[in-house]
Amino acid sequence: MIDPTRCNGCGECEIACSEANPTRRAAGLSCIKIMKADFRGRLHIPTTCQQCEKPPCGSICPKGAIYRDDALNRVVVATDLCVGCKLCVSACPFGAMDFDPIHGIAFKCDLCDGDPACVKVCEANALEYVEGSDLNRPRIQDSAGKHYAVLHRQVGGRRPSYTPVISH
């Protein structure tokens, strides 16, 4: 769970994410990124993979390299199957999928196998790791739907056919 109102934009989560995975560390990349904006004071929004229930990245992957791991409620990239066509990068509505130019494959948040490094280092408590079963799902779904509707009215696009479900 991400609470942007608590985030102070220190960037520790980005560093921890990059350090947590040896392949990402080599490329200096992180799965979580903090977006910063200047309206009504400073606003910081950490953005990362939402672990969609029906991931558009998975449905677009021509090699079937992205699948959903229901045990940990996450979406995973099979690095041995990924060929680096970047279709998933363009398909993700959140821009959470990223491309590692050194290894030539896509990478995304894998929740650090259930123990996210970003959550451990967040001093402002803006990040929290919650098991999917502990959440009030209908309420989250409703709230995410509203958020998405607003978002798409803003950019002048249609509402997409899938509803994002935040499952962690």
Partner: protein
């Protein structure tokens, strides 16, 4: 005649370029056109490009010949905000075919900033900045 050929399925995703073990493939983005190049004198004939191609677009034909040769070229689509070349027109078609409403042509960075706009809306700011600072 070139040994390496691509058919109309090619969408310029560059998976073959990233996966070529002998760097015999490269690309050039110039004037809104993406050009795919192949060098027969570097090619190891391993067939890895053919194996990884998500579009089954690669064919082998003819006999070996000289230096860097143009294989194919196609138009590029740029990010709506920053103008960074994103992908080719054929690639966009593939996106739109596979998922309904393939989305706007935005680079990953500017796609992330969409959430900023939603927050701007909640904060009552009617003219959110489409600007990212990282």
């Amino acid at each position: 005649m070139s040994f390496f050929k691509v058919n109309f399925n090619c969408n310029g995703c560059l998976a073959c370029v990233h996966n070529c073990p002998s760097s015999a493939l490269t690309f050039k983005d110039k004037d809104n056109r993406r050009t795919l190049l192949h060098n027969m004198s570097l090619c190891a004939r391993c067939g890895n490009c053919w194996r990884v191609c998500p579009q089954d677009a690669i064919q082998f034909e003819g006999i070996l010949d000289g230096q860097w040769q143009e294989v194919t070229s196609m138009d590029l689509v740029a990010c709506k905000i920053c103008g960074e070349p994103l992908y080719t027109v054929n690639y966009q078609d593939t996106l739109n075919q596979k998922i309904k409403n393939g989305g706007e042509a935005l680079c990953p960075l500017h796609r992330k900033t969409l959430s900023l706009e939603a927050w701007a809306h909640f904060a009552g700011d009617t003219t959110p900045q489409r600007r990212a600072k990282t």
